[in-house]
Structures are given as C-alpha cells and as structure tokens.
C-alpha cells in the first residue's frame, strides 16, 4: 500500500465511522474556511457576523473589489438632493472583526474542488462558500437599449457612476422637460425603488419651480409596491406631474432609441429629455456561471437556512436568491445574512443554531417629511419563505405618522449601514 493509498483508505474508514463530520478536518488545513463572494448588504453582513461571533475559530475571507461601498438603498435620496454622495458611501471596517478583505473580482467557482478563482488567477479554498453577487441587468431585455446605450439612457440600478450620471441629467433639465422611466418586470431589486425614484425626481423638478415638466412611467406591471400610498402622494405633492401607465394603457414597450431620445410603445412614441431604463434582472454572473441558478435566472435555496438547493457547500442570499415572499432589498439581505452566519458557525464551529427568522421593511420617500413603508416577518413554510405578518402604509395617514416614518427611515439607514460595514 503506498502512502497515498493508505491515506485515502484511512480517510475513507474515518468517514465511514462518521468521524469526518467537520469539513475542516476532512480538508486537513487547520481552521475551517469561509469564503464570501460579494461585499454588499448580504455578503458583508455574513462576513462580519461569522468573524465577530466565531472569535477566530473560522477563517473568513470576503472577495470584493471595492474599498468602499455606495449603497443602492437611499441612492434615490441622493438623486432627490436629500443626501450627499459621501453619505451613502461606506468604507469597509471589517478587518477589526477578523475579516480578510480580498480586493479582487471572483471570476469562477470550482464546486468539485471547492475553490474560488480570482481575477489574478489566485485560488481560494473553502469549506463553505457564500455567494452574494446581487443582480445583473438584462441589457437585451429592452429593444434598442444596450450597455453602451446606458451611457445616454442610464439605468442607475447599481451603485456608482450610473447614479451620478442620472442625477447630472436630472439637474440639467429645464421646465417643460419630459422624463420617461421604463420600469422593470418582476422579480427585481427594490420593488418600490422605481416609484420612490419618480417621487425624488419630481421633488427636484418642483423645487426648481417646474410647472410644465412631466414624468411618464412605462410599466410592464399592472400594479406595484405601496401603489395606493404612492399615487395619493403624487397627487398631493406633484399634481399632474407623474403619469403612471400600465400595460393596458401603453399596450407594451416596443423600443427605445438613444440617438433620437425616444421611447415607443404600442400607443405612441414619446420624445424625451431624460430616459431612465430599468431593465429586467437576474442573479449576478458568477452565480449563473457556477450553475447555481434555475430557469428563472435566480438561485433556488432551502428556505430554512438559505443553503443552495444545488450545492450543499454553498449558501446564496440577497438579491441573487429566490427568497419566496421576501423582496430583493437590503433589509432582507441583511436579515438573511444573519441566518446564514448562524448556520455557518453551526456547521464549521459547532455553535448553537436556532430556527431561522426573517424580516424586512422598505421605506420610500415621496416628499420631505412624507415617507411610507412596507414590510413583514417571514419564515420557512412548505419549502418556501412565506410571510407570516405584513404591513403597508395606507393612503390618508396623518402628517405626524409620515414624519415619524421619515425619521425612522433615516434612523434605519444609520443602523443598517453601521451593522453591515462598521
């Protein structure tokens, strides 16, 4: 028997007796290793909580090219002039918890070898992998539009220069301007986001004294999140400015033309001064290429713990995951992250685990001191994450309630960003 064979035999015998329960032992490399792909609300929260609570028992590496993260949530407040760019940008402070932040793009996952490949060719071995790449945009979902066309007709649906471009375009508009927003089909990141964005655009136009400008929303959906409260708020604060069109009204989006700045539906061709195209979406590339998605383009997970249904060594959470009744929101991603962190610590360090609890709230600004919210509590039920308690702001709420909700929104942002990044 050669050394290699004997070792294999021994390992096999140990495995057969159940001694090789811990993957770290099986890999023979000392501390168990967690690799986290993505430093957004999902990934950064998992990395922080596993490192913080395992107190060095688990080796935690977060793969994220950025040194600081600009949040999608509250980026509409930047657009509306309520917040500065620096107020929605957060440097990572996770090293103090023991997280190793590798500032590279993850380019591949070898699920058989349990290795992540980085852009420079480095390979990171893992015992458990967290995949939290967020969404990718389907640039081909809107005829006439493309990644290049997004430099003229921005999506601004990912943090960064696209949002700065959209704001520059918005701020340059003169009275009488026409804005067209192409809203996305379900499921997409931040369900109330397009409608909060329209509100924040209207806030800017109103503040500049515009009386003739208008915002047309071409929507492939016949309803949207917090619809009644949004529509009431639009009438109240921006009468006649925001026109929402469902498919029955516009008959379907035919195409956009970035050169002519037009948007054509079955009903009409609109000449616009600003076009914001928010296209259809799917799980981030690395999740798709690693075979972690199903036919929906998103990743199926076990509702009790966010483990991939396609690979027991991988957890997928945040916008890339199919989280049932939970929306694709930062709050939801952060909530799922705490479940994943607990489960990972249970698997790799023998920590106690408890039944998963999930929660979400999404606040949306309509106007200064007028913020609405939707949210709920969720748990695993019949194989999916189901809502067990929900709430939504109603039309007709008094000013004090809306003002309090505005304060809550600001307070939540401080809380969640401290929780994720600091």
């Amino acid at each position: 028997m050669t050394e290699l064979t004997r070792r294999r035999f021994t390992a096999g015998a140990l495995a057969a007796t159940g001694i090789l329960a811990a993957p770290a032992v099986a890999r023979g490399k000392g501390k168990p290793r967690l690799v986290v792909i993505g430093g957004g609300p999902a990934g950064a929260t998992v990395a922080k909580y596993v490192a913080k609570d395992s107190q060095g028992a688990i080796d935690v590496t977060m793969v994220e090219p950025l040194a600081s993260f600009t949040t999608c949530f509250h980026s509409n407040l930047f657009l509306g002039g309520f917040k500065g760019w620096e107020q929605i940008t957060h440097p990572y402070k996770l090293a103090s918890y023991g997280v190793t932040h590798v500032r590279q793009m993850a380019t591949g996952i070898d699920r058989d070898k349990r290795e992540v490949t980085l852009a420079d060719g480095t390979k990171l071995a893992y015992d458990r992998l967290v995949v939290a790449p967020g969404i990718d945009l389907k640039f081909d979902s809107v005829p006439g539009w493309s990644e290049a066309a997004a430099e003229v007709m921005p999506h601004a649906w990912k943090p960064g220069p696209q949002m700065q471009l959209l704001k520059a375009q918005l701020d340059a508009l003169e009275d009488g301007a026409t804005i067209v927003m192409v809203a996305p089909p379900n499921p997409y990141r931040c369900p109330p986001g397009p409608y909060e964005r329209a509100s924040c655009m209207a806030h800017v136009l109103k503040a500049k004294g515009h009386t003739q400008s208008r915002i047309v929303i071409i929507d492939p959906k016949d309803r949207f999140s917090k619809m009644a409260a949004f529509q009431e708020g639009w009438q109240k604060h921006y009468p006649g400015m925001i026109e929402w069109m469902d498919p029955k009204m516009h008959g379907g989006l035919k195409s956009v033309d970035p050169a002519a700045m037009t948007v054509t539906t079955d009903l009409e061709t609109i000449k616009a001064d600003l076009v914001n195209v928010i296209p259809a979406q799917m799980a981030g590339r690395i999740a798709r290429e690693a075979g972690l998605v199903n036919e929906t383009g998103y990743c199926p997970i076990d509702a009790t713990n966010m483990r991939s249904k396609l690979d027991p060594n991988i957890y997928v959470l945040g916008d890339a995951a199919i989280a049932g009744a939970m929306p694709k929101s930062a709050f939801a991603a952060n909530s799922q992250a705490k479940v994943v962190a607990m489960m990972v610590r249970g698997e790799l360090a023998g920590a106690r685990t408890f039944p998963a609890r999930y929660a979400n709230t999404c606040w949306s600004v309509i106007e200064t001191d007028d913020t609405i919210k939707v949210g709920g509590r969720y748990e695993a039920k019949d194989g999916a994450i189901a809502e067990v308690e929900g709430f939504v702001s109603k039309p007709g709420e008094d000013a004090a309630t809306r003002r309090q909700t505005s304060e809550e929104n600001i307070g939540w942002y401080s809380g969640i960003t401290a929780d994720i990044f600091g």
Partner: protein
C-alpha cells in the same frame, strides 16, 4: 424512603427554580442571535439617529414594551411584525442580552410612547 423522596422533591424544586431563573434572566446566547435582527435598526452603540436606542434598558421595561408590541397594544407596525412571533422566552432572552450591554453613545432611557 422519605429522605430520598425529599431529595427528589428538592431536586424538582431546584429544577423549577432554575427554569424560572432562565426565563427571568433569559438565554443570553439565544438573545445574541435574536438581537442581530434588532441591530439592523437599533444601533448597538446606543446612538440615536431617528430610531430609539434599546441598549442598557432594565430587563423589566424591555420585556413589558416588547410584549406590548407583540400583543398589538403599541402602534408601530414594524415593531409589531418583529415581535409577532416572539415567545416569552425569546423576549426574556433579548431583554437579558440588551440589558447586559452599556451604550457607548446617547441616552439609555426607554421611551414611554
């Protein structure tokens, strides 16, 4: 017989006292996990930016207030939905966890509204 029976009774009593203590004091480890949900909004530092601090509260106040949300005697729908599925043990665990911490900034007085 009587004596060993007495010991058994004492053991049962001791177990009951321990269980009652656990409920009153709360399971800190469970509280730590559950608390991760709270700190999404309520900052661990005790800082107030629009959402009240819950760090360093007396456990009795904490239990009373969270129970009021669970029973829908308090208004905020976010807190109602957070509290809806909490058991008494879980509320006690949270009270123990947050009660054991000192705020690093801000005020620690629970709000009464």
């Amino acid at each position: 017989m009587t004596r060993s029976g007495g010991i058994a009774v004492l053991a049962v009593l001791a177990a009951q006292v321990a269980a009652a203590d656990a409920l009153r004091i709360g399971d800190r480890e469970l509280g730590e996990y559950l608390s991760s949900e709270c700190v999404t909004c309520h900052q661990l530092s005790g800082r107030y930016d629009g959402i009240p601090s819950i760090v360093g509260w007396p456990p009795d106040s904490f239990i009373a207030i969270l129970t009021d949300y669970r029973e829908k005697r308090r208004e905020n729908p976010v807190m109602r939905s957070i509290a809806v599925k909490f058991t008494d043990e879980e509320i006690a665990a949270l009270a123990a966890y947050f009660g054991s911490m000192a705020p690093t900034t801000g005020s620690l007085a629970p709000k009464t509204d």
